[in-house]
Each structure stands twice: as structure tokens, then as C-alpha cells.
């Protein structure tokens, strides 16, 4: 393996305040009771800033601000709403380096991913939905589609700003106003986004950001003056939210966990498949709901493929997220690291064979070496439960029918991958997979024009594309 000199991105492009308030009605303010929490850099455990914890009264004010802003915002001609969103898209493009570094600081993801994946997709998402704002009658949801009202949006920590974009852009384009709660371990990019809204001169109250932990989110989604709830996160919390919303008449979309099968047939181009497997599970430290966490490989090529995969994994660079050479950054939090560690220990205890490349992990911060388990059966917990980390379970199959059977043998249904040179096989297998996104000879591809979302217990509703408008139209 080649030695690489460090190529650190400068963190001086981000100016952090020591503390941040809630963004309500166009202004930053402290929580009513003054409560705060700390957000840390998971790569160093350094405290980045103190952030306000929104209590019930704060959420009430945020919802009231969104309600107040709703009348004028929803009455604006679509072409005018569009221009606000185009402005936001442009400002994000202009500030993308700053926001990419901020995202890597707060989240731990490699700068090459925040710079080349997250930020370009964030800007593109706003650009895409900006264009829909004045074209809603053409979207196929009736001649005069109407917004729903105030949307409560709760997003996860794995792609903080991208998940914000997926929530906020379609909501605003369709004329809704929002109260958004970012995850408690990654609140900063949402607060910087509040500043982007101010730069764009977005009317106060159209976007409100309340920071806090699970309690804040639970109070927000249960709020009686919220008309629409959108959540991305774990299936467990999604279930809880569905129970809360049941009987209230609120609209609900959920984008939850996954345990995607990445199916490699014996006619697949192996080198390409290995790249896809690595990208599928190690992209963003495996903190990806659609990660290809179950590798289903045809038995007759399993040995060759695994040898090649291990060789490739030997070259992965784990470490400083701000180093432009880094492939795998920090695990987002101590709690997540504990969960990955626990499930991996269970995997070994249940009889699967564990392997990681030799790699030096930094002493401070939260780290987990890329790991694969072979000899995994469908009964093993590491084959059934979402680990949400850089851990791959490898299973084998003999026939396409068996591959489909095993791929679908999960309560989840978010995504899947198929590797084969035979087009007809790809399409036939794709037809049989119970998953919302199927990647063929590629993996983890995202585009604002392409709908994303799950079957079964991976949630309901789609984000992205023309389909993504439906969740925000009455």
C-alpha cells in the first residue's frame, strides 16, 4: 500500500460561535428555560459548541411562528416561492466549502464525502424543488394542488444537511412552512442553514429550527397544531411516531431503517462489484439507512470475491475526517460506537467469522475498523438487525430464486443491489425484490430527481423526484 502524506482540509473556513440558540420566526433565541447541550467533534471529542435545548414552550413558539407564516407563504405565487428556493440553492453552492467542513466536524464523515456528495446533493435538491414550485399543476396530483400546512420534520445525524434538504425543499416548494429538529449529535449545519435562510431573505417563520434530543422531537410531532409529520431515523422511533400520529388526522411520511441485500451473481464484473460492495457498506462509515449491509454472493464465486474484497479493504484509510485522503471517518457518537461494538461481538459469539484489515485507529474519538463477517446465516442477529456501522455480513446463495428469497427475508425493504452482466436477470430480480430502491451494477446513488423511500418497515412515502411532492400536497 502506498504511503500518503496528510492532506488536511483547513477548518479555518468555518467560524463557530461558542453557543447557538433556536431559530424561531427568523431570529436566534435561547431556550425559555436556558437549557443547553454540547455538540462534539466525534473525531476528537472536542466540544464544538453549546446548543439550546428546545422545551415545550419553545416548540410551541416555533409552531406558532410557522402557523403565522403559513398564510402569506402558501398564498405566494409559485414563481415567487421558487425564487426564494433558487436563492437558497445558490447560497448553499457559494458556501459549500464552509458547510462541507462544518458537516465533517460535527458528524465525523470524511471531507471527500461531505464535499463531493453531501453538499452538491443539498444544493441540487433545493434547485430541483425550486423548479417545481411554479409547476405543481403539472406534477400529476390534480389541477390545483394545495399545501398541507405546518410540517414537523425530524431528521437523523448521518447526513444532517442532506436530510434537511430532503425535508425542507419539497415542503417549501409546495407552500408549507416547517419546524425542523436536527439530531442532537449534529445540530450545527441546520443552524448554519438558518443563516442561509436569512441571507436569502426568506420570510420569518417559514423555516424554524428547534434543537434538542428525543424529547423535543416527540413533543414536536405530537403538537396539535402540526398538520404533517416527516421523520427519517430508526424504525423503532418511526413506530413510536406512527402511534403518536394515529387518530390525529396528521399526514405522515417515514424513512426508516434498512438491511439491504447486495446480490452478486457469478457473471458480475468482480472488480466493479468489489468497489460497489465497499461503497455500499463503508460509505459514510456505514451510517446509511440504505447501506448494502448484507452481501449475498453466489456460492461458486464467493471465495474469489472475498479474497478480492479483503485485498481492497486493506487499502481503506481510516482516520481524520478532514484529511482529503480519508475513506472512513469517525463513528458519529459514543452511543453508536457502543451499539456497533455490541452487535459485532454478538456476531462473533453466534459463530460468524470476523475479519478486519490491520489498521491503526486514532486514540481519541470514536472509531471502528471496517469489518466483515463470513459464514453468516439468516438467523444471526448481524444478518437481521440494522447495525448502522461499517460492518458487512456475508451470506451465499446458489440460484436467483434463492437470492431473492434471502434478500426479501427481512422486515425492512429500503434498498437492494444487483451485480450481473445480464440485463434480463437484473430486471427480473429487481421485479421480485421488495425494496424501494434497487441499484444495478452500482450502489448508493442519489439524485434529487430520483424518488427514495422504503417498503415494509423501512417506512412509507417517497422523497425526491416528482413523487416527493405528494407527501406535501393536500
Amino acid at each position: 500500500m502506498f504511503e500518503y502524506a496528510p492532506a488536511p482540509e483547513s477548518r479555518s473556513v468555518v467560524e463557530l460561535d461558542s453557543s447557538y440558540g433556536l431559530f424561531i420566526d427568523g431570529a436566534f433565541e435561547a431556550a425559555k428555560d436556558g437549557a443547553t447541550f454540547k455538540t462534539v467533534n466525534p473525531a476528537t471529542e472536542e466540544v464544538l459548541a453549546e446548543v439550546a435545548t428546545a422545551g415545550p414552550e419553545d416548540v410551541d413558539r416555533a409552531v406558532a411562528a410557522a402557523r403565522h407564516a403559513y398564510g402569506a407563504w402558501s398564498a405566494l405565487p409559485g414563481a415567487e416561492r421558487a425564487k426564494y428556493l433558487f436563492r437558497i440553492a445558490r447560497i448553499i453552492q457559494e458556501r459549500s466549502r464552509e458547510l462541507a467542513v462544518l458537516e465533517s466536524l460535527d458528524n465525523g464523515k470524511p471531507i471527500k464525502e461531505s464535499r463531493d456528495v453531501d453538499l452538491p446533493l443539498v444544493a441540487a435538491h433545493f434547485f430541483y424543488y425550486a423548479g417545481w414550485a411554479d409547476k405543481l399543476p403539472y406534477a400529476g396530483f390534480g389541477p390545483d394542488p394545495k399545501p398541507i400546512g405546518v410540517a414537523a420534520q425530524v431528521i437523523p445525524w448521518n447526513f444532517p444537511l442532506l436530510m434537511l434538504a430532503w425535508k425542507v425543499a419539497p415542503a417549501l416548494a409546495t407552500g408549507n412552512t416547517v419546524v425542523l429538529k436536527p439530531a442532537e449529535t449534529t445540530p450545527l449545519s441546520a443552524l448554519f442553514f438558518a443563516d442561509v435562510c436569512r441571507q436569502a431573505e426568506l420570510p420569518p417563520g417559514v423555516v424554524n429550527i428547534v434543537t434538542g434530543a428525543g424529547d423535543t422531537g416527540a413533543y414536536l410531532v405530537a403538537h396539535p397544531d402540526v398538520d404533517k409529520v416527516a421523520f427519517t431515523g430508526s424504525t423503532e422511533v418511526g413506530r413510536e411516531i406512527a402511534r403518536t400520529v394515529a387518530g390525529t388526522g396528521k399526514r405522515l411520511t417515514l424513512e426508516l431503517g434498512g438491511k439491504a441485500a447486495n446480490i452478486v451473481f457469478d457473471d458480475a464484473p468482480l472488480d466493479q462489484a468489489v468497489e460497489g460492495i465497499v461503497n455500499g457498506i463503508f460509505f459514510n462509515q456505514g451510517h446509511v439507512c440504505c447501506a448494502g449491509s448484507r452481501l449475498l454472493v453466489q456460492e461458486n464465486i464467493a471465495e474469489e470475491l472475498l479474497a478480492s474484497l479483503k485485498r481492497r479493504m486493506d487499502t481503506l484509510r481510516v482516520g481524520d475526517p478532514l484529511d482529503k485522503n480519508t475513506d472512513i471517518g469517525a463513528i458519529n457518537s459514543a452511543a453508536q460506537l457502543a451499539r456497533i461494538t455490541e452487535l459485532s461481538e454478538i456476531g462473533a459469539a453466534e459463530g460468524a467469522e470476523r475479519w478486519s484489515p490491520a489498521c491503526q485507529l486514532p486514540e481519541r474519538g470514536f472509531w471502528f475498523a471496517p469489518t466483515i463477517f463470513t459464514g453468516v446465516t439468516q438467523a444471526h442477529r448481524i444478518a437481521r438487525e440494522e447495525i448502522f456501522g461499517p460492518v458487512l455480513s456475508v451470506l451465499t446463495f446458489r440460484t436467483p430464486a434463492e437470492a431473492v428469497e434471502k434478500a426479501n427475508n427481512t422486515p425492512y425493504g429500503l434498498s437492494a443491489g444487483i451485480w450481473s452482466e445480464k440485463g434480463s436477470r437484473i430486471l427480473a430480480v429487481a421485479d421480485k425484490l421488495r425494496a424501494g430502491v434497487v441499484w444495478a451494477n452500482t450502489f448508493n446513488k442519489f439524485d434529487p430527481a430520483s424518488p427514495f423511500g422504503g417498503y415494509k418497515e423501512s417506512g412509507y412515502g417517497r422523497e425526491g423526484g416528482r413523487h416527493g411532492l405528494e407527501a406535501y400536497l393536500a
Partner: protein, 281 residues
């Protein structure tokens, strides 16, 4: 530094204005007419395009077409949005040319409207087809190719025929009605990341150049929106029939520029491509 009104007056008297030369816009450059001809419009000597200029413009449009169509829809949308930004920035210049404020607003907003269509038209005009058999079958729109356009008057008229053609990946040869406005728009396009040759603008008498474009074998579609005489329009349509060009006829009673343009200005310049692929293990 604040100037006294007297000083300004002296400066105005002392300094001679540098005038702009209005030339053609072909392949991203601003050449004079190869014919060497000009004609007088509002005190400016404006290039009078010839048959040869029209043919050169077709060559430039054809050369640019595959690259422009091959750019991602997202990229084309960004470029069109950039055009809107640049038109907005040149308000003063368009105003000085007599474009009313309301028309300027509408022209900027129309660029923005079409910019947004770049990555949406396929989802509205295309889709999966549920054929009765084990086949993947999908239809998607593709640009027709090179479009010759007789543009209606005014900035909004120009924008309303250029933007729907180029947003989907067509390239154009535009015969403009108002030379100064059209060439000022060309200067906008030249500074907006629109690749050279995507929009080519000819000033002059369209009755002279349009017949050559209507019969040109390397032009795929003909937009006659700006043709005022029904008889000439019919003649051009007949000439276009020789190569089975797609023809947009002039709307009855002229184009209503204030109406929602709808999809037709785009779909009239699109082909539908349907792909079949078998499914089976």
C-alpha cells in the same frame, strides 16, 4: 467620490460615448454578416444576415447540439438559471432599449420557469409503459436537434421561443425581430455559460433568410411563432415538408406572452424514445 453637478455636466460635454456595434451571434462569437450588409434600426447600423450567415449558424448549432444534449439536465437547468441572473443584472440596458419593466420581470421569470423544467420534463412527458409481457419498457423524451426559429417581437417574445427549445437539449438558429434587444440578449447568453452554438442569433429580414432555413436539410424543426403573414408561414411550412421538419405554426392572433406557456413549446421540439428490454433469470 461625490461629484458636483457642474463637474458632471462638463464631463458629459467633454466625453464622447463609445457606441456598441450590433453584430450577429454565431457559434458563441459576434461576427459581422459575411455579406458585409447592414441596415439602419433606430440610428444603429445593424448586421443584415444573409443566406450564408444562416447556413453558418446551422453548422454552429449542429456542432453544439450533441454536447448540449449530452450535458446533464441539472447542468442545463443551472445554465438557464444563470441566464435569468444575467438578464436581471442587465435591466438598465434592456430598459434603455425600451423594454418595459413588466416585460423584463416576465422575461426573467420565464427563464427561471424553463430552467426548472430541465430535470422535470422527462418525468412529466415520459414514463414506464405497462406492456403485456416480461419486458422493461420505458419512454423518455429527447431533443429534436437543431431548431430554426422566427422569433416574435420584444425580449419576452425572444425568451418565450428560445428557452423552451434549448432547455431540453435542442440548439437554435434564431431570426430576431428586434436587433438591439436580441443582440443584447446574445451578450447575456455569451456570459452565462451557455456553450457557443446553442443559441445563434441573426438579425435582418426573416423573409429573406427563413426560406433557406425551412428547406435546410440539417435543420430538424421550424418554429414560425414570429411570422406575421399567414401566406409566408404556409410557404415556409411547405418548404419544411421536404425534410419532414417538425413545425410550430404561428398562433392564431399572435402569441399570448402573458399566458402560462404550458408544455407545448417544449414537447413540440421533443422526440419520444422507447426502450424495450426483456426480463428473466
Amino acid at each position: 467620490m461625490p461629484k458636483s453637478s457642474k463637474a458632471v455636466a462638463v464631463a458629459e460635454n467633454a466625453r464622447l460615448t463609445v457606441r456598441k456595434t450590433y453584430k450577429l451571434y454565431i457559434g458563441g462569437k459576434f461576427p459581422r454578416s459575411e455579406s458585409g450588409r447592414t441596415y439602419l434600426v433606430d440610428g444603429d447600423n445593424v448586421a443584415l444576415a444573409s443566406r450564408k450567415d444562416a447556413r453558418d449558424a446551422v453548422v454552429a448549432a449542429r456542432a453544439a447540439q450533441s454536447g448540449w444534449a449530452g450535458a446533464t439536465a441539472y447542468n442545463r437547468g443551472q445554465v438557464l438559471y444563470r441566464v435569468a441572473e444575467m438578464v436581471e443584472a442587465r435591466r438598465a440596458e434592456f430598459t434603455a432599449l425600451g423594454v418595459p419593466a413588466g416585460e423584463l420581470d416576465a422575461a426573467v421569470d420565464r427563464w427561471v420557469w424553463y430552467a426548472g423544467w430541465s430535470d422535470k420534463i422527462a418525468q412529466v412527458a415520459g414514463g414506464a409503459n405497462p406492456v403485456a409481457g416480461p419486458f422493461f419498457n420505458i419512454s423518455a423524451p429527447e431533443p429534436t436537434g437543431v431548431v430554426a426559429v422566427v422569433a416574435p417581437a420584444g425580449l419576452l417574445g425572444l425568451v418565450s421561443v428560445i428557452a423552451p427549445a434549448v432547455v431540453t437539449g435542442n440548439t437554435t438558429v434564431v431570426l430576431a425581430a428586434d436587433p438591439q434587444i436580441a443582440i443584447t440578449l446574445a451578450e447575456v447568453l455569451a456570459t452565462s455559460d451557455v456553450p457557443g452554438g446553442v443559441v445563434n442569433i441573426l438579425t435582418g429580414r426573416y423573409a429573406e433568410t427563413a426560406p433557406w432555413l425551412a428547406a435546410h436539410a440539417d435543420v430538424n424543426a421550424l418554429d414560425l411563432t414570429g411570422v406575421e403573414h399567414a401566406e409566408l408561414a404556409a410557404e415556409l411550412e411547405r418548404a419544411a415538408a421536404g425534410t419532414l421538419k417538425r413545425v410550430i405554426r404561428p398562433p392564431d392572433g399572435g402569441i399570448d406572452l402573458s399566458a402560462d406557456p404550458g408544455l407545448k413549446p417544449m414537447t413540440a421540439l421533443l422526440e419520444t424514445k422507447t426502450v424495450w428490454h426483456p426480463k428473466g433469470y
